[in-house]
Structures are given as structure tokens and as C-alpha cells.
Symmetry: C2
Subunit: 363 residues, 2 copies
DNA sequence: TTGAAAGCGCTAACAG
DNA sequence: CTGTTAGCGCTTTCAA
């Protein structure tokens, strides 16, 4: 093979020996300079840097990885959706990964993908990564099953965001497992407004995120000794929220609904409104995520803002720490901030003496 | 260094020679099997595969890349936002990249990032990629400037989505440059409804996407010999749409607005509604993107759906073709489908009994 | 503070 | 059909 083949360049890419020759030093010295190793005189460092610049030298990452056994990259497994939550998380992860000097490799797991998380993780391992982030995995691996091809031998540290780990690895960290608390916050808000109970429009139960929110909601109701009404299920989408809303609208007892995400909340509100149930006068609705349009829909949506950036940042800091200090103690997780954003979609329940239809809104 | 160091495994990772030994063949034969090269008897192939399975063998990608000069990965430069457009595009790209057998590396350019696209591309080149996708770049490089550190020497094929190329490379492909046509479609729709002219709520002009939409709108108006009212600018966000809406609401001549994305359209509608201008009775609004909630906001939004998946798929197919056949002719681009989704936010203008035209003193 | 030598694990020719 | 021989461009010893 010709030097530089595959790079498509007209001239071969310069290597560290080329830089060394130009700078009049050994190849090893060039290596030292580029790795910020000590014991290089300022004078030599300058010469090397100049030569590199002049030649347009760029370190060959494959050679580095091969020689050092470290790829300096982190792989992330995400769902292949543009849903606000997963997408925000991915962006947060990218930012931190880059800040910590690692490169990012991304593999999606589509819903219904037969290989699922295991396949995605395997693919990342094939590519070569020093650590793996699994963002919001959903159920697809049977629990308790340990067949080697189902849950691949992961020999790098893993950070799992928003779920218990679907893989076994020498070091497993978790982050962002605060959905339950957030769901409590949302539910408590509704209860504090005077609602007798709160209905829940849940996400798909294969998602831990959905289950956690449901759990938080149910636990809050239990704690307050309230009825736990039947759960309505959606698929995160506005259409599914709309469908749920039509059903919920038929039940006059429904005065407060906690939706597991904003998209569903928006669909829900539309259905409620079309059915003649005003929001928030007749029914209060709380969403989850605080997507960008939530403040501007009609009515502006009360919701819980997820601390995506904080979760990504904190989790990755810990992951990188484990990667670079395999023996050291893990950094302790910290609790991310949780914000309940109260807007106009929640209000006290309609007074019970007056039928809703006779109430008048003054504008 | 110890074998397998950096992988953190308790035992060293098996190499192809190990597999070869177990299978009783040469190392090269193992390589043949794993590369699906011809001239390996079924019998030998089986033995190799069995041995590999037994050992838990995984090819070392760094060594492969070093020896072959190909990294088998594609890098993508995206904006670091969870905006629906960029995020959808990224997901579409991931899917296709994986389908074509490449790995994906991702680098974001944050707005205000000093290094910008050039820095991101450089980082990808450092990491080692066989091709680069630049998704919706925004202006940050001075045009016409050719300093080496400003626009790095890109020696791999580049696919630019939704913009002219901000870099020079041996092969530059473009895709998704249909925003102008889509903007025309939106504007024509409004004109066909009977509106005298159409106002435009534009995106930030550093984005090509925003400029293209503006151009399409302006050209359509010109073609029909209509007034081109002053452009209102937003920043893609719902709040900015809201702010624009307050201004637009004061002008009774405004009967139709084409917003450069759905988020702004939603903010705009809210402002219009609050100001007592009904949508669509008094003012029609068309958005752009068809984000998931658009069908469920109030009123459901008429919008233009961007063919993200089609654009990603088509563009990448061409990019991969160039990577693998540097000498061959480029595959021809094809036109992605454009869908105007007509919902309830557009309608004919209010009847012209009030002499709005008399008030127009400046054009 | 610097350099020389020896691989890292694989693919690319070229023989058989 | 299969094996041999060289590297790919670095990092890592170890020596100076």
C-alpha cells in the first residue's frame, strides 16, 4: 500500500518522523511534544511545533490507539429519535465528552431493533471505545438472562443514564435517575392546588423513564392516601396524548392530569378542549420535560424541567474519572436540580358545588 | 505496555494469532475470514469462526485502520442543539451510516464557538474519518479567506447538508438544498388562499437554512408581483416568535405570515391571539418543519414537512459512493419529496370591507 | 533532557 | 485455496 492511501490526498500525509527530520530531533521527541510530556526544552518544543505547522502534521489516531491501547473515545448508545429528551441528553453528552478531550462515537438503537442495546454496545466495542454511555435504554433484553451473545462482555466502564444497567461491566455508573422525584413534584403540585386525586397519562412502559414517572406519581398518591385512578397509556407522542384525552374527557371526575411528557400533554389538552373541558378551569394538566414550545402553547404548560445538561455533565465526569483511574474510588453522584415550572395549565379544581358548565370566566 | 492494557479486562483480549492457533490455520486466514474475502474453504471458515467465538475474539479496529489506511468511520458536524431539524437530521444520518457499515463520530459546533465548523472538522480529521458530513453549517468563517488554519485542509470527501460548502475538499457533495422550494410552496399556499401578500418571520440570517427560506419567500412574492413587506427576525425559538408576533399584531395589514420554523410559528400565534387577532380568521400562519406537536397545538399548524430522512439517506449514499469509488463519477442527486401539510392555521384573508389598502403609505 | 529499538494487531502484497 | 513477509505510525521501554 502507498503511504497516505485512503486519505485521498494528492500528497502523502506527513508523519512524526517527517516532523522530526525537519525539526532536527528524534521521532520520539516529536511524540513527547505532542503528548505534553515533560522533559522537553522550550527551544526544542518550538522547533517541533514549527516543523509540524509547516508540514501540516496531524497525529495518526489509529497508530496512537494501537500503540497505547487507548482509543480516547467514548461511545454513546441512544434511541434513534429526535424526541426532545433523548436528543437533549445526546447534545449534553457531546459537549462534555469533547471538553474532557475524548471523541464521541454514536450508535442508535431503534425500537424494535432485534439486536437492541446489546447489539449497539457490541458495535461500539468493535469500533473501540474507552467507555460507554447508555442513554435511556428501554427493555428489550430479558432480565436475568446471562447468555454471552445477549449481554456482551463489556470490558470498559459504563455509564447508564436514567435506568438500571442492562449490561454487566467492570464498572457501572448510573446518573439521571431522578424521574421519580420529579414525578412526585408534579403530582404534589396538583394535590396542593386542591385536586382530590391526579390522573396519569403514562409513557410506554418499556421505558424506565416512563415507569419511574408512573412510580413517582403512584407513590405520591399513596402517601397522601388518595385514590389511584387507572393509568392511561400513551407512546410519548402528541397523537397518543390526544387519544388519551378523548377518553379522559368523558370522565367528569378527572380534574387533574399528570402527563409523562410535554408532547402528550399538548395532545391531551387539545382533546380536552375540543371536548369542552377547559384547561385549567375544568382540568389541570402538568407535563414533563419543558420542551421549547411549552411556554407558548395554549394554555402555557406547567411542567417539570429535566436537568439534561447537569445529568450529562455530572455522569460523564464520573465516567471519565473511572476510565482514567480504574483503581480509585468512584466519584460520588450528586443530585441535579429539579425545576417545576408553573404556568397556566394548572389551577385549583372547579368548585364542587357548581357544575362546571355554569362557571363563568371573566376576561 | 501490557497486552490489552486500557481495555481494563482481567485477561488480555485475544488477537487474531490466538484464533489462528486455536483453529490451526495461519493468522492471515483468520483475517480473510473476518473480511469476507473469497478463497477460504467452508471447512476452514467454520473452524476459524468457532475458534473466534470460543475465545471471544473481536477485531482490533485501531490496527485495522492503521494497516489499511481506512478508518471505516464517518464524522458528522452538527449544531449542538436539540432543535427538531438538526436533531432529526442527525438521527437520519446515524441510521444510514450504520446501515452502510461505517461507524459514526460526532462533533458539535456551538453557536459562538470560536473554532466553529473549521475546528469541528479539524477535530474529526484528528480522530480519523473517511468522510465528513456537515449538517446545516452556519456562517462563522469569513468568505473568501484562505488561511490554512481557518479552513483546514480537508482531504476526505465532504457532504454538506443544507448549505454551500464551508470547506474545500477533493470531493464536495451537497444535499438538502430544497429549503427555497419549500418556502415557495408555503408562500404560494398563502397567496392561493387570497392573501394580498405574505409577511415573513425569518430565522437567524447566519443560517443558510434561514436565508434560503427568506429567499424562497421573497422570490415568490416577486414572481407574483406582490409587495415584499419588511422581514421580521427571530432566532428559531418560540419566545422570539412571540416577540415578533407582538410587533406584527400591531399592523392591521398583516393577514398572512410565513414563519421559518414551527417553534416560532407557535410563539407567533400565541402573541397574535393574545393581541386579539384570531388565527386563522384574521391572520393565517404557516410554519416550517412539522415538529411532532404541530398537529395538536391550537390551531393545528399548517406547515411544510422537511424530508430529513430522505435527505440524509440520499446524501450519505452518495458520500459513501465517493469514499469507496474516488475515481468514479458521482451519483446524481435526486429531489426529495416536499410536503405541505395544510391544517387549521391558514384560511382566506378576512373580507376586505375595511380599506386596509389606504393605510399603506410606505412600501 | 534526548534517542534507539521494539512492538501494538492488523492488512497488503506476493508466493506457493 | 493458504501461508509468508513486511510494514502502517505511533507509544513504550530502556539506555544515554
Amino acid at each position: 500500500m502507498t503511504r497516505g492511501a485512503g486519505r485521498g490526498g494528492s500528497s502523502a500525509a506527513p508523519r512524526s518522523v517527517d516532523v522530526a527530520r525537519v525539526a532536527g530531533v528524534s521521532q520520539k521527541t516529536v511524540s513527547r511534544v505532542f503528548n505534553d510530556e515533560p522533559y522537553v526544552s522550550a527551544e526544542v518544543r518550538r522547533r517541533v511545533l514549527d516543523a509540524a505547522e509547516q508540514l501540516g502534521y496531524r497525529r495518526n489516531n489509529a497508530a496512537r490507539a494501537l500503540a497505547s491501547g487507548r482509543t480516547r473515545s467514548i461511545g454513546v448508545v441512544t434511541l434513534g429519535t429526535a424526541l426532545y429528551g433523548p436528543a437533549s441528553l445526546l447534545m449534553g453528552v457531546e459537549r462534555v465528552v469533547r471538553d474532557t478531550g475524548y471523541a464521541l462515537r454514536v450508535v442508535n438503537t431503534m425500537e424494535g431493533d432485534p439486536a437492541g442495546v446489546a447489539g449497539a454496545v457490541g458495535s461500539l466495542l468493535d469500533q473501540g471505545v474507552d467507555g460507554i454511555v447508555i442513554s435511556e435504554p428501554i427493555d428489550e433484553i430479558d432480565e436475568g438472562r446471562a447468555e454471552p451473545d445477549a449481554s456482551p462482555r463489556v470490558d470498559v466502564p459504563v455509564l447508564v443514564i436514567g435506568a438500571p444497567s442492562p449490561v454487566t461491566a467492570p464498572a457501572v455508573l448510573t446518573a439521571g435517575d431522578c424521574a421519580e422525584v420529579m414525578a412526585r413534584t408534579a403530582t404534589e403540585h396538583l394535590l396542593a392546588l386542591g385536586h382530590r386525586t391526579v390522573h396519569h397519562l403514562a409513557g410506554p412502559q418499556r421505558w424506565y423513564a416512563a415507569r419511574d414517572r408512573l412510580e413517582g406519581w403512584r407513590a405520591t398518591l399513596d402517601d397522601h392516601g388518595r385514590d389511584v385512578p387507572p393509568v392511561v397509556h400513551g407512546d410519548w407522542s402528541a397523537p397518543s396524548g390526544y387519544a388519551a384525552g378523548r377518553r379522559l374527557a368523558e370522565d367528569p371526575d378527572v380534574t387533574a392530569v399528570f402527563a409523562a411528557n410535554d408532547d402528550m400533554a399538548i395532545g391531551l389538552i387539545r382533546a380536552l378542549t375540543e371536548a369542552g373541558r377547559r384547561v385549567p378551569e375544568d382540568v389541570s394538566v402538568v407535563g414533563f420535560d419543558d420542551i421549547p414550545v411549552s411556554a407558548y402553547v395554549n394554555p402555557p404548560l406547567t411542567t417539570v424541567r429535566q436537568p439534561f445538561d447537569a445529568v450529562a455533565q455530572e455522569g460523564l465526569k464520573r465516567l471519565v474519572h473511572v476510565i482514567e483511574n480504574p483503581e480509585a474510588d468512584h466519584l460520588p453522584p450528586s443530585d441535579p436540580p429539579i425545576d417545576l415550572i408553573v404556568r397556566a395549565s394548572t389551577a385549583p379544581p372547579p368548585s364542587r358545588t357548581t357544575p362546571a358548565r355554569e362557571r363563568r370566566t371573566t376576561a
